[in-house]
Amino acid sequence: MSEHRIRFTVNGAPVDVTVPAERLLVDLLRDDLRLTGTKDGCSVGVCGLCTVQVDGAPLSACLLLATQVEGTTVRTVEGLRSPLQEAFIAEGGFQCGICTSGQLMAADALLSANPDATAAEAADHMMGNLCRCTGYYGIARAIARARPAG
């Protein structure tokens, strides 16, 4: 019923689009911008698959109207350049991979804000980024491996 011109950046590139009020960020990213690394899982903010960073904070793209990111800096897995990526491979931090982009964006948000995060802090932060292949030990090892402090 209303259309909105929104401007923000995704992975450093400016975006200038017009969207209906009810457009969700996850749909804008995947369908309009073709950034399909962000997955849509539960659609109610519980599973963590759609985790992206908005001004550095890990958020569920399925719970955000696209209009809510007007003027912000959005990062998706396509823009990630982190030791976490090699660490997930080295430690076997995934099996099927559907949760991996969300896991990476959540873990990167933690290490960017708190490079010295303890294993317990990491576990608390990553709670709710679900992995149904039960790869949690591998994910925890990958985060520990990627920490700047080691």
Partner: protein
Amino acid sequence: MRPFEYVEPETLDEALELLASDPEDTLVMAGGTSLVILMKQDLVRPSRVVGLRRLAQLRVIHAGGDGLRLGALATHEAIARSGAVREHAPALAATFAAVATVRIREQATIGGSLAHADPAQDPPVTLLALDASAIAMSKGRARTIPLEALFVDVFETSLEPGELLMRVEVPPLPAGARATYKKFLPTTLDDYATVSVAAVVATASDGTCTHARIALGGAGPVPFRAHDAERALVGRRVDPVAIREAAGLAAAAADPIDDLRGSAEYKRAMAAVWTERALREVA
């Protein structure tokens, strides 16, 4: 999601004007975690949504001699991490830190949470025990709503059409008072509580209780204070016998429902157990 008109006012006056012009079909959006899901699931059908994100003055967290002022748009994560909140009301910071996951805490706000009035939420319980009030504003009128008077029924508050929840005020604790929040999570840590309990107790130098607050969540259609249990403590030593008695009275005041988090009978039993644990911690 059904189409709707979305408006982002730049000023408070503009927001109140928008709410006044069509109070019945307009809904306010703070963080959006609950409203977006309700709209996706077609449980609410607003013709207009007023997004508050440009009203930066509603994000402010302030601590002073008269206590804490928490702007309605302060996020759960901002409150949990706030130095002012951790210093003046550590139990409140811990309560906000116990909500859901970091993704929800980064988006969900205190004002949105209170206006949503889900009886299983965490913050209302501790805010009740801390004697907090909500400040609501409509065009030309501001009023203070003690938190006990805010919650009317499941997902229902005493906020009137056209009213905007502006901030939450938390007075200082009585001297020497201790506060805690206990969240019983038998399944997963990111779940809503099966039951939760906040307790505040102050005692005189002879050990006599001078101030008691006990509030419960997940144990009825609204988060509530267990007044009988509080009265049972004041004027007595907070010993194991008094604690057991108060816990029984708190459970008797509960009116839980059967759901995935337990049967009503189980929740009532757990209300007693967790009230006892909370009181032991602050006695």
